[in-house]
């Protein structure tokens, strides 16, 4: 799977973003994380191959998430659907 890692000063939490390359709200989520110097990983699901898409679906659904993008997973347990500054700032303590 083509996972990209973005380095940041704040690596207190493990942050993973499932995004779409065409999605404005996904880009805003990444931008918000960048502005707050959060370290995170992301995958653009629309550019993933079929096998990876199935794994992504299982991962999101197993964590109780919906198949909407962006889906941000913090520390493997908090699932945030959509670009939600309030929920991101709470989960990331920023």
């Amino acid at each position: 799977m083509n996972i990209s890692k973005v380095a940041g000063k704040n690596n207190k939490h493990r942050v993973f973003v499932f995004a779409l390359s065409t999605c404005v709200w996904c880009n805003l989520t990444k931008q918000y994380l960048n502005e707050n110097h959060i370290e995170y990983e992301f995958v653009n699901v629309d550019l993933a191959d079929e096998e990876d898409k199935q794994k992504i679906r299982e991962t999101i659904q197993n964590k109780g998430g919906m198949l909407s993008y962006p889906t941000t997973i913090v520390d493997d347990k908090v699932v945030i659907t959509g670009f939600r500054k309030d929920k991101l700032s709470e989960a990331l303590e920023i």
Partner: protein
Amino acid sequence: MTTLEEVRKRAEADAKTYGYYLTPQPDLLQGFLEGLKTNEDRYGYPLCPCRLTSGNFEYDRDIICPCDYRDPDVAQYGACYCRLYVNKQVYESKNLPEVPERRPIEKQTRAYESQAAAPAKPTTVGGSQEKTHPASTEVGKVQPTVKKKLWYCKQCGYVVFREDPPYVCPICKAKKELFAEIESSVEYNG
């Protein structure tokens, strides 16, 4: 290849036709239009930039922008799922609402199925670029299909040949419940 200006004009014309507005934030609008253009270049039709697509036209039909869910979403929340299309109130307040996904989960999950066709590059015939459904042009790959039916609007008579009836009749605005299936049969004599 469609230009960004063409995508913008199409969206503006569609908003005007239905009495909607395009999102009031210029940077967001630019992003939505670019996403639509990217998807049109990739798949041959302007798929919703905020949803995962399968690349199979039959599977993606309901999320070609403006998607099937736009009208009920604007009616209920004041904006479509992406928030590209908004109503007057949202446009003037500039406060974009949260809009949950209305698309049924069984349709969403089709984009993750292994038999879904991979996006193909647009084909060029006779020097001009032809718009084809990439999913239907791939050779040697069995394409999944959906079972389409004939539906008619009991209020105005509008007929549509699709998997499901529309949420709202595009002619008379009747609700989905006012659509009924047309059942046909062929009889042979002699």
